[in-house]
Symmetry: C2
Subunit: 256 residues, 2 copies
Amino acid sequence: MLSKNRISTIQKLHQKKFRMQENLFIAEGAKIVPEILSSAKDTVQVIATQKWIDSNQGILLNHQVEVALPQDFEKISSLSTAPEVLAICSIPNDLQPVYAAGSFVLLLDAIRDPGNLGTIIRLADWFGVDAIVASSDCVEWTNPKVIQASMGSFIRIRPFYTNLQDFIEKLPQQCPLLAADLEGENLYTSNFIPEGCLVLSSESHGLSEYLEHLISRKVHIPRGLNSSEKTESLNVATAAAIFLSEFTRRRAFSSH
Amino acid sequence: MLSKNRISTIQKLHQKKFRMQENLFIAEGAKIVPEILSSAKDTVQVIATQKWIDSNQGILLNHQVEVALPQDFEKISSLSTAPEVLAICSIPNDLQPVYAAGSFVLLLDAIRDPGNLGTIIRLADWFGVDAIVASSDCVEWTNPKVIQASMGSFIRIRPFYTNLQDFIEKLPQQCPLLAADLEGENLYTSNFIPEGCLVLSSESHGLSEYLEHLISRKVHIPRGLNSSEKTESLNVATAAAIFLSEFTRRRAFSSH
């Protein structure tokens, strides 16, 4: 059973302020926690019910484990259905990714919805994106909803937060730079090069003004043949799926 | 101000049972309600604050409007931030879509998450899918979370619920029938015909067993070049985005 004090410390990690202060984040559930333990990337404290510990001895060998009751989990969990295991992980100091020729980097501009960021991280992992660089006003990847939506992919690929303008200005001149934008060329017929950097913005605000003059090539997802033309835009996570798919098709499976 | 009775009647419409009983559903917010009013597809009762009514006289002309207080909206709304306007709409008796040569129909198999269904409806609207046919165990489109996630697209395209096996068995023999499945051919290199019916299943369960023997051609979304191979699958809504994009590219923008 967890002490009142311990419960309160963990609850605080649902808030960004305390995550930054303690340099810790939480990840929950029987799918994600074992993945974290096997990745050995982060220092981890595990909290679990006795039942869960008994059936998972093998993966817990070298880890510090605290026993908690199901009713403790109802207090410390951010999920609607309380899990049986939760990990408290240290936030590593990631190094700014350096752009290498031929690599493919996703630049995220003001993506504030945690579900969207989590989905984008999962997609980037699936499609083998080399790095994600996020503007400082994107939601932080340690947000519990990002962790859940990423389905464990945050273990393998994490946004690096920085000033996007600075990052873009330091890119080598020959690095292709493309932005998803409703005013751009047709994604399917444009002859863009499927490498370099792709900028995705939140659908409600479009490309941030300070980035406009830095990006000359823009591409949009055209509507289909019989579309009613009444839909305004696509959600940024579905737009990410479509762009990453088209980049992948051209990089790996096409002569374009 | 709404009566206690009226508030309770509206609250009940958050539940499937009462929506089916009353043949009514609710749609909320200043973005969706005006779209519903201009579509004139459904019989609609509007509930709004006096402030909202005053600034939207033009679109309210021929509609029955009830005035409510902001505190009423906190009780009747299903959103985390209560809106200033809400519509109660009748559920129409849609006719089963009939497959026509060259058209493109989405078949949904056991999609239970309302956010996913709403996103798929929005995508189908964007890409001009001709019809959506859903298995009876899919979440109903009148669920408030589906309505919100569809962003008004449910006005233009709505799933028709039926037994998918019966629907498939009645299709003309030459109708192409494709399923998204992890064991299938490579989406980008397969020479499938981009028309007919595409079956999408929930990512956690895969294609339902009773459909397996009905569908001979399956296609999957391959991972990218540098993928870690550790991600198990994609969310069904992002998979839908990728499939609909690739169908659209081949139908409208490619010589394939």
